[in-house]
Symmetry: C2
Subunit: 431 residues, 2 copies
């Protein structure tokens, strides 16, 4: 185990009941368990869900170091590393001090049934960074439990870069902690659902999916070319919504290389500045998409455009990236009969705003819940590597990241972010 | 067009506001459109959803001929038949007077986008039999609109019969109109969902489903054998629930022939007589299932057994075959994180009983709605042909059908069925 000699570090700490963060000296983290790693933070993100704690909306009652998005460098590893460990995640034998890593916003052990099945968001050891039980990443150092399962080595991405491309900046890599995998997940849930996959593969429902051969001989019916058309909406254009839209377009473009498929995507938000950001991102990537393929709209426009595009049928799938009942109701209105709502928004206490008859009468499917970030990282990393034009900038019209500041500005940034006066902020704890 | 000379026929007719059915002479149906067929009814079913109209719970305000489940023989076809019709459903050229047919409970044209995509329940011409717009099958004759798309020829099933088996009785074939396809659909939605299919195929999520090769190289990770274990619950053991459980077992057994997969199924109902029926059916087919694989339970038992079987994780999928909020709440309680609720119960006006936080925190998926019966018929017919032991009897402990009576007993049967004093009844309008 590498020795760590410092005894205190700078960190952003939240105090109950609400709206109180302070930049303080806190204890250096140390190896508490053989599977721990200590990571020296390069950059840490300020995320919309940090505001739930900031505003006192979560059941947190004691002070805690904030933040669940970070990239950094391994400076210490527990005794669980460096030993032959058949059946354990590879990183327990391959991770080294000095490796650059990103962490998902929750711990995932890689060893329980859920992690082995790829459902890392429901790891039985799942803990969110940035709560009293597990100090977060808005600091100079952080302890990562179950680190061989949780961490993702950033040098993995080097091989994914298109020839001649620069290595990715830390500010881009940080998007892998949460928002880009969550956007990928929203898109992938939609593309993989049998109701959508059937159209992609051109095989009528239900014969695209599993039907036992012992029961019915394989069917060879193919959809008419004019039926191989898909319409998607992305509801909510915060940073995760933008990631969802870009991921969806990226994957649909790949599909279209191999299959004759038409698609249309509408990106929807009532907030004009969010629509402008989305439009700027689309402009930066849209050489092969015209306005009749991908468009940005407010809510009334979206209803009209979807009706016009689909002859009033509705969208095959709606990606809901907001997390409230207005968004669910809008998604229901926009989705077609036998369509899917892929909901990754973080929902709160209200009862769902739909009746049983409404969901029965429209044959609606829903996939709700948290992204299994660790499982999505290879896909998200690949999209990140291909799309530096979208995910590489800072402070430009089309950038997802607004600015990078030192921890000394954290109090001001939380206040501004809470009031919507600043976009996504990253902290460089060494600035 | 074959001529039909009779001018009146006997039929069961419902009168508003409620609890009033009469057996009357009503006009003979006739060809009203070139795509119509007239079918002479052999048997018609009395279905639980007939009670919605009977009790006055639907918005029906004028008298109508009841019934949406029937088998019979084609006695007349419109001019849309017998002509070369490229691109139209095959039956427009192959169906003949004298053919034995079954109809789904709704019209499906076979020609709109939804029908071509296999989503026959959302046909743009969808109409339910047994409402004022479309007289039902509890009669001697019925008009079937869009008959080349809607009807299913019963001789198709002859080739599916195991060697040496008797042809199927009309009372078995009638189950194809609604309840067996709906049971198959409930099971198939569960087996095809990516969250379940991943375990069946032994490939960790999300790499069992579609991930563009242009984005990430195919992954070759395989699930550990001990992770290839699935637990299902069937909530609601009316006739459709029994069909769902049998269909699920049939398909899981086929899967197990090719893949090393463990599975467990629990069938749940608070009603003792329904549990006894389910148990009798299981006993008739269960030579290869022990009590630790398939079991029948009331609600408190089900919670305990699922917790015991799964180490408190819950079921991978719950088939909800009731259609009320108690059933949805129970399904939510029984399903595991990242699991699926396949809901085919016909739901009514109440708001869904779950909060956004509950569905987010458990990563729950839902597939709601009506079965695309016409698309499911080939699969349902195959299961019917293999399982005459289950679907062949009348009035026995393990029979889904309680009795066959003449139309003259219809008034009494509606009353008894409404009060739960009789099981599934079929009408023979020539008795």
């Amino acid at each position: 185990m590498a020795a760590v000699s410092l005894s205190t570090q700078r960190a952003v700490r939240w105090y109950p009941p609400a709206y109180d963060v302070r930049v303080e000296d806190v204890p250096m983290p140390c190896i508490e368990h053989p599977d721990d790693a200590i990571v020296k933070i390069k950059l840490a993100g300020l995320c919309g869900s940090d505001l739930h704690v900031y505003r006192g909306h979560e059941d947190v009652t004691s002070p805690c170091v904030c933040g669940h998005e970070f990239v950094g460098e391994v400076i210490a590893l527990g005794d669980g590393f460096f030993v032959a460990s058949p059946g354990r995640p590879d990183l327990y034998t391959t991770l080294k001090v000095g490796d650059r890593v990103v962490s998902p916003f929750t711990v995932s052990c890689g060893e329980c049934h859920f992690c082995r099945a790829g459902i890392t968001c429901r790891c039985i050891h799942s803990t969110l960074f940035g709560i009293p039980d597990l100090p977060g990443g808005q600091a100079q150092y952080v302890r990562v439990p179950k680190a061989g399962g949780t961490l993702f080595k950033l040098d993995t991405i080097t091989s994914m870069l298109p020839p001649g491309k620069e290595p990715l900046a830390d500010s881009s890599l940080l998007l892998l902690a949460d928002i880009l995998p969550t956007g990928v997940f929203a898109a992938l849930q939609a593309l993989q659902h049998p109701k959508v996959a059937s159209i992609i593969n051109g095989v009528p429902y239900p014969f695209n999916g599993f039907v036992p051969e012992g029961i019915v001989a394989p069917q060879h019916a193919q959809l008419h070319p004019e039926d191989r058309s898909l319409t998607f909406a992305v509801v909510g254009l915060g940073p995760v919504g933008v990631c969802a839209a870009v991921s969806l377009l990226e994957m649909l473009s790949e599909i279209r290389k191999k299959a004759s498929l038409k698609f249309r995507v509408i990106a929807v938000d009532p907030n004009a500045s969010r629509r402008e950001k989305m439009q700027a991102v689309l402009t930066s990537i849209s050489t092969d998409f015209d306005a009749d393929t991908v468009t940005v709209a407010d809510i009334p426009q979206a209803k009209d455009i979807v009706a016009h595009w689909t002859g009033a049928a509705g969208c095959n799938a709606v990606l809901e990236v907001v997390g409230n009942n207005s968004a669910i109701s809008l998604a229901y209105e926009l989705v077609r009969p036998f369509g899917l709502i892929s909901s990754v928004g973080v929902h709160q206490a209200p009862q769902l705003p739909l009746t049983g008859r409404e969901v029965y009468d429209k044959n609606v499917s829903f996939d709700f819940g948290r992204c299994p970030v660790r499982s999505m990282m290879p896909i998200a990393a690949s999209i990140l590597a291909k799309r530096q034009d979208v995910f590489g900038g800072i402070g430009e019209d089309a950038s997802l990241i607004d600015r990078v500041v030192g921890l000394s500005e954290a109090v001001e940034m939380y206040e501004m972010f809470d009031k919507g006066r600043v976009g996504k902020v990253l902290f460089d704890p060494w600035r």
